[in-house]
Amino acid sequence: MQTLIERVVDGVWRDECGAQGALFKLLARVIEYEVDQPLLDSLRGELREPLAEAGAEVPEDLLTGDPAKVVEDLAVEYTALFVQPGAISPHASVFQTGKMFQEPADRAANWYRENGFVFTHRFSGEFPDHAGVMMSFVSALFEREADALDRGDAAAAQVIHETRERFLIEEMGEWVPAWCRTAAQAAEHPFYERMMNLTGRVLWDELTQIVPPRRLRELSEKNARGPVVVAKDPGFRKASGL
């Protein structure tokens, strides 16, 4: 295996940063907001093949259905999965403390602030510790690292690199993989099921690259907190007040 320095020297790492940045951006986008027409177009177009290769094939109904209806159906699924009561809350506070907007939200906001970002709402009910926003932050750090490398600023790249790794380990590693698994199991539409599985895999893969084995075992245990098997019962969301 090459060292980081060697990879940078080879220019491989710069490309990897760019690619990872883009991948995290796509996954973040899917988690942060509902699919809209431009994203659907990309899913039908340039993203279709690479997603299939990554094991997250774009489901048939997304490819062929009336775009407006597909967007509408996915919005309903998105709301059920991530927003409405009983959803698989994408917020670290809920996942870790059982309450909305607790310390994890402050920590996330601090990370963003210290790195020159501010968290803004689009809808009400969104907080800085949203898994999608965290993914988006990682993506931005990948991009910044690539930019620094482009500029030849290895020192800056190193700082960003370390920041990103720390953020991944400290703020995401303990819960986002498990959350992805839970959300994938709860998803009723294969698009979200596949995208959540993909997100979980990408994230875990990233963690395995950067986390020493003992800590990885710890993270693995934390993430083992398990969702139970969900029967895809049509009454599932209704009676539970979801």
Partner: protein
């Protein structure tokens, strides 16, 4: 002896003893005892930082106690009672203490939701507040345009607002008045409306203030004030003050042994609905044994002792014994004790009044205080002291056409509406509804025969558009087309006041934190909606809402309160939470004391305040002493003096109620045998009750409270249980004429042998995953999201809700639902029965509507039950829309 420290234990002790003698000379250590004062300050246990303290008014239940919220890093971390609040005096109940969990509940609705699937299917799309208020405004505008085009203001009544716990300080009423609709339906008839109608015509206000702290004798009927009922917390404290500091004797009547029964000196369990027979018998004893206050009756009521003695003739204690099961000798003894122990007071809450003819029950209980002259005395039965706030002008004129929805003309005395009738009126096509808005209201859970509401909500023809302002996915909100979530009560602005002490107060609800996650308080949504319905101002609505935001609106409501401005006005309230400040709470006596430690006295004898010459200017005095001015009674002349009197037409306490008689009801308090009293020997009467850690419907998802109380087995007496072969914990069927529920038996001596009692607050089919306990139903639910639910929920029983089998039957006078009048059979569960099964018939429920109308003043049962009333039965007033007082 220790080899390192050559001193024995004895030696240590000796040194210690010597040191103790000189301890004061050693000075203070750096280590200080933790703050032990009566609240008002709080520190972070981690950083030691002083937490920001923001006062607010609780609204988990309806008592509106004052609290201080402690905020750390923008988060509410702890709530405690406001030590300067005269009502709750620094203490909150368990519900109040855990109130901040409402704010951070992961199952709270945080963004407007638009229905996309079938009603109740659970399919939603999130939208913004702007989109949501635009949509609702367009629906409202559609109705208004239709009304204007047809030049028919009654069409505007198709805009309906149904509310439950509305503490919006008049915001909802102002909004509806601006829209020009009288389609406004509250919830009071499932609460205590017959108490109000038993009291209001008698003396003005709708409730009493029993001065427990200073009384010597408290006689309570069906008011479990130690753990629920009205003014719980403030009154529970005062009752305990009385018992500990004043040796108050507490005598309690309730078919169930709740905590008030547990602390009572004597507890009696009457047959449900027979309290009034006991009370009338006590009055009989007091009058016949001349234990009454002759002067008070003659001066201050509209009856004479002779009339009372004549009226009470048919209620000897033996009669009451036969009806209630309470021994005549006890009734006599308690009547004598009550009449001769001074001061004394009664208190009652839903127990007596939540029956058919409940208004008679309440009027009778009030009468006990009147005939013994305990009214407005220290330690007696006092008028409530509230404080009003402003509705800033200009005020909207209101709807032009009367509406009968939830206020049917068959109930002219039911001034607090008959909201239970709403779905029946709609389903029978008597009233049309185009847009329904609901606020803090969950009839699909909270109403009798709750399945009837559910059927109405599901029908898009009957209910074309349904918007809810609920921040929780309740059994009702789940059927909405649009949800525009309000915030929790800790993130909103309201004025509030409650007569929870003899010293009146006004309090503030303010945004302790900014609305979480950019959610929007109810008032803001109302402002947005009005500004969209009347975007160009041409409908003349916008002018009534010149407020930039909720806070500005509330600030205007506090203007013009005499004396407040001088103390700092709205800003004083923001800082202190409550006004005025009467003094400090003495931690030993719990009394409000001044700087010298002397108790700040409360004012008594409000009715005896003499009217000023200015007040009398232009007034006239009628033959009965009533002082009239501008068509209103402003006081009463007694023995040549002009007193403020009571809020009735005569200025006196009207034991004889002319208004009742006008519609063929008995003007005097009477006992009417209820159908449930004639039940068969093997049947039981189903009653419900509230517990000390829950509201009726809104707290099952609050984690602290759910852990404390989450299942509600049916209380059944060992005798009744044995007769049916039921053992404690057995699965049972409770069956009424509507159908059955399957629950478990809690076999206990603490319940009348003819009663089965099931608490509210449990058995939710909506309201979030904890209330529904879906996590235990793993076949259809995902765990692994909320660690509290994954790891800390050790119970697997959410209880069974009884309301679907409770029959609609209302008091024809006060309009109250007879919650405790449903006759049931209880049997061991049958093969195939599952815990939580509910099987009920809509058809049977619809029949109950027709049946209960027979008891209304227009119905055949009314005449049959009131043969003694001397009126021309053929000349009763015709039913009239908007005729309620």
């Amino acid at each position: 002896m220790n080899k390192h420290f050559p001193m024995s234990r004895r030696g240590f002790l000796k040194l210690g003893g010597s040191t103790a003698a000189v301890a004061s000379a050693l000075g203070a250590s750096r280590l200080q005892a933790m703050e032990q004062e009566l609240g008002g300050k709080d520190f972070s246990p981690v950083t030691g930082k002083l937490r920001e303290a923001v006062p607010y008014t609780c609204m988990v239940c309806n008592i509106q106690d004052g609290g201080i919220a402690y905020v750390e890093d923008g988060r509410i971390v702890k709530l405690e009672g406001n030590p300067d609040h005269p009502g709750n005096r620094g203490k909150l109940c368990a519900k109040g203490n855990s109130g901040f969990l409402h704010t951070y509940d992961p199952d709270r609705i945080m963004t407007p939701l638009l229905r996309t699937g079938k009603r109740g299917e659970g399919k939603w799309k999130r939208i913004t507040y702007d989109e949501a208020t635009t949509l609702l405004a367009s629906k409202l505008r559609g109705v208004i345009d239709r009304a204007n085009a047809a030049n028919d203001p009654s069409i505007r009544n198709e805009i309906v607002f149904k509310w439950g716990r509305d503490r919006s300080g008049g915001a909802r009423g102002r909004f509806m008045a601006a829209l020009g609709s009288n389609g406004q339906v509250g919830h009071t008839n499932i609460c205590e409306s017959s108490k109000k109608i038993g009291l209001e015509p008698g003396w003005g206000p709708d409730i009493e203030y029993p001065d427990f702290a200073s009384t010597k004798y408290a006689l309570i009927f069906g008011g479990n004030v130690v753990e629920a009922s009205y003014f719980h917390n403030p009154l529970a404290q005062r009752l305990m003050d009385g018992k500990t500091q004043n040796q108050t004797k507490l005598v309690y009547f309730d078919p169930r042994q709740g905590n008030t029964a547990a602390v009572a000196d004597e507890w009696f369990a009457p047959f449900p609905g027979t309290d009034v027979a006991i009370v009338l018998a006590m009055a009989h004893v007091i009058m016949n044994e001349k234990l009454y206050d002759d002067a008070f009756i003659r001066n201050w009521t509209n009856v004479t002792p002779e009339q009372l003695i004549a009226h009470l003739k048919s209620y000897p204690p033996e009669f009451a014994e036969a009806e209630s099961g309470i021994a005549a000798k006890d009734i006599r003894r308690i009547a004598r004790e009550y009449a001769t122990t001074k001061p004394a007071t009664t208190f009652s809450y839903r127990g007596p009044c939540k029956h058919v003819y409940g208004a008679y029950q309440e009027a009778a209980i009030q009468m006990l205080n009147v005939i013994t002259g305990n009214v407005e005395k220290k330690g007696g039965y006092c008028l409530p002291r509230g404080m009003g706030y402003n509705q800033p002008g200009p005020k909207p004129p209101g709807g032009k056409a009367p509406s009968i929805l939830g206020q049917p003309p068959e109930y002219p005395l039911a001034g607090h509406q008959v909201s239970t009738h709403l779905p029946y009126q709609i389903m029978k096509g008597q009233v049309k509804m185009s847009v329904l808005m609901t606020y803090y209201d969950n009839p699909a859970y909270t109403y009798p025969s709750s399945h009837v509401w559910e059927a109405m909500y599901k029908d898009e023809k009957l209910l074309p558009f349904f918007a809810s302002f609920s921040p929780y996915m309740s059994e009702t909100a789940q059927y909405a087309d649009l949800i525009i979530p309000d915030t929790s009560y800790l993130e909103r602005n309201d004025p509030d006041s409650m007569p929870s002490d003899l010293r009146p107060w006004i309090g503030i609800r303010q945004q302790v934190i900014k609305p979480l996650g950019n959610t929007q308080e109810f008032r803001e949504s109302l402002l947005q909606i009005i500004n969209k319905v009347d975007a160009d101002g041409s409908l003349g609505m916008k002018q009534y809402f010149p407020f930039k935001n909720g806070e500005e609106w509330v600030r205007a409501q506090f203007e013009g309160i005499p004396g407040l401005k001088e103390d700092g006005g709205y800003d004083y309230l923001k800082k202190n939470g409550v006004w005025p400040k009467y003094g400090k709470i003495d931690p030993v006596t719990n009394q409000i004391v001044d700087k010298n430690g002397d108790e700040v006295p409360a004012e008594y004898g409000l009715h005896m305040k003499e009217l000023s010459a200015a007040a009398m200017d232009g007034a006239s005095v009628e033959a009965n002493g009533a002082i009239k001015k501008g068509g209103k009674t402003i006081g009463v002349r007694i023995n040549g003096k002009n007193y403020a009197g009571f809020g009735t037409g005569s200025g006196k306490i009207e034991i004889y109620k002319e208004s009742y008689k006008k519609y063929g009801f008995n003007p005097m308090p009477v006992y009417k045998r209820l159908a449930s009293r004639g039940k068969k020997a093997d049947e039981l009467v189903l009653t419900t009750f509230k517990v000390n850690v829950h509201t009726q419907s809104r707290t099952a998802g609050v984690k602290y409270l759910a852990e404390l109380y989450h299942k509600n087995p049916a209380w059944i007496n060992p005798k009744a249980a044995a007769a049916k072969g039921i053992a404690d914990g057995d699965l049972i069927r409770v069956t009424s004429s509507l159908g059955y529920i399957v629950t478990r038996a809690h076999v206990t001596e603490g319940i009348h042998p003819d009663v089965v009692a099931i608490s509210t607050a449990c058995g939710h089919s909506a309201y979030g995953r904890l209330a529904q306990l879906k996590l235990k139903d793993k076949a259809e639910y995902v765990a692994g999201n909320d660690p509290d639910i994954d790891n800390n929920v050790w119970w697997d029983d959410k209880g069974v809700h009884p309301n679907p089998i409770i029959r609609l039957q209302v008091d024809p006078i006060g309009g109250s639902q007879g919650w405790f009048d449903t006759v049931v059979t209880v049997s061991k569960a049958q093969a195939g029965d599952k815990y939580g099964d509910v099987k009920v018939s809509l058809e049977e429920a619809m029949k109950d509507y027709e049946e209960t109308l027979r008891y209304a003043y227009t119905g055949d049962m009314h005449r049959a039950n009131h043969k003694e009333v001397d009126i021309d039965w053929n000349s009763l007033p015709a039913p009239k829309a908007g005729g309620g007082h």
